[in-house]
């Protein structure tokens, strides 16, 4: 998975969730996004679904899939790489 894609994913997270005072470098590739990590919740998850579809054309159909895809930046980038058309 390319560093370029990882950076794009981090920027997408920051922009779509309007996270202030956080730069892409501040987000660890493997840190959990939900719970103890960035502290995201189900509302954020849906926002990321929409952003991912808009930016990459990649769909996350339900919350169960979302739980796996949004585990970390690395898993998000992995899902995008696998499903990018």
């Amino acid at each position: 998975m390319s560093e370029e894609l990882t950076l794009k994913v981090k920027k997408m997270i920051i922009d779509s969730l309007r996270i202030e005072g956080t730069a892409p470098d501040d987000i660890d590739d493997d840190a959990p996004l939900f719970g103890d990590g960035l502290g995201l919740d189900s509302i954020d998850a849906l926002q990321l679904v929409v952003a991912m579809e808009k930016e990459f054309g990649v769909v996350v159909p339900d919350a169960a899939t979302g739980a796996k895809v949004f585990a970390s930046v690395r898993t998000m980038a992995g899902h995008i790489s696998e499903n990018l058309k």
């Binding site: 969730l17 919740d41 509302i43 926002q47 679904v49 996350v60 159909p61 339900d62 919350a63 979302g66």
Partner: protein
């Protein structure tokens, strides 16, 4: 123009690990009045339900955030609220004091919890679905849309078995998520009409003065007056909340800055979603 926005009941107590002096002071007042200690929410000091504890916790959290902001010299131009956020919102508007906000939260919560003797109820949080389809599912299942928060974030309320069925149908129909939450009573539905006499008596036992900061309610986006507050408190329990309409209304009257009066953002996330759709 800025607006302080007060969310409704939180879904958990875990929203802030460290409590400050403002929270501690109001939590002590809550414990003295109700037996429930928001500083130790899991303790068994109060003979009240989990829902009432959460409602009190939300009010204490909002009142403490409010006190902290006031001490910093901040003041809202307008106030708005969602669901049970009305009680601390009334205090922030100057219509009642903190003690009355705690009393109202407690009394309404306890009165609503009496619904538990009539049946088992639940709330269902559905995201990612269009309202039209969800309304159809709600109708078929015999439950109600209690909150329309954005075009894709809804809360259902009703009998537990029917909520379970509605959530299964929602998932099968493409909802992104559908989660159930326990509750004492089906808030914001006509099923609560039978409790209104008790609620009217509680509301009539309080004195409401004219809010000195404009306070807008989330049902019809009207400005609350002292005379209308008692009936609104009863009415809002039986009618759905429309947060997206409220947010758009506030923007329409010139509000450009929103401050959520709570430990963690919820309404702000709905606002972000609504803004993204504009």
């Amino acid at each position: 123009m800025n607006c302080w926005i007060f969310p409704g009941q939180p879904v958990s107590f875990t929203e802030r690990v460290e409590h400050n002096g403002y929270f501690e002071e109001i939590a002590r007042a809550c414990r003295a009045m109700t037996g429930f200690d928001p500083l130790c929410p899991d303790s068994d000091g109060a003979d009240i339900t989990e829902s009432v504890k959460l409602q009190l916790y939300g009010t204490v959290a909002s009142l403490s955030c409010c006190a902290e902001l006031r001490d910093k010299g901040e003041k809202p131009d307008t106030i708005a609220c969602h669901s049970m956020g009305i009680y601390p919102a009334l205090a922030a508007s100057g219509s009642i004091d903190r003690q009355a906000a705690l009393e109202l939260t407690f009394s309404f919560g306890v009165a609503l919890s009496s619904m538990r003797t009539k049946g088992e109820y639940a709330l269902g949080c559905v995201t990612g679905m269009e309202e039209k389809r969800l309304a159809e599912i709600a109708r078929k299942s015999g439950v109600f849309i209690a909150n329309r928060n954005t075009s894709r974030h809804f809360l259902l309320a009703g009998e537990k078995a029917k909520i379970v069925a509605a959530l299964e149908m929602s998932e099968a129909s493409g909802a992104f998520s559908a989660r159930i939450y326990p509750c004492d009573a089906p808030l914001h539905t006509p099923l609560l009409r039978e409790t209104t006499q008790k609620l009217k008596m509680i509301a009539s036992g309080h004195v409401f003065v004219e809010p000195n900061i404009p306070l807008f309610e989330p049902l019809t986006q009207n400005r609350l007056t002292a005379g209308r507050i008692p009936s609104f408190l009863v009415d809002e329990i039986c009618r759905p909340v429309f947060w997206d309409r409220t947010y758009m209304f506030l923007k329409g009257i010139g509000v450009s800055e929103f401050t959520e009066i709570a430990f963690s953002p919820l309404l702000s996330k709905f606002n972000r979603w609504i803004d993204n759709e504009l």
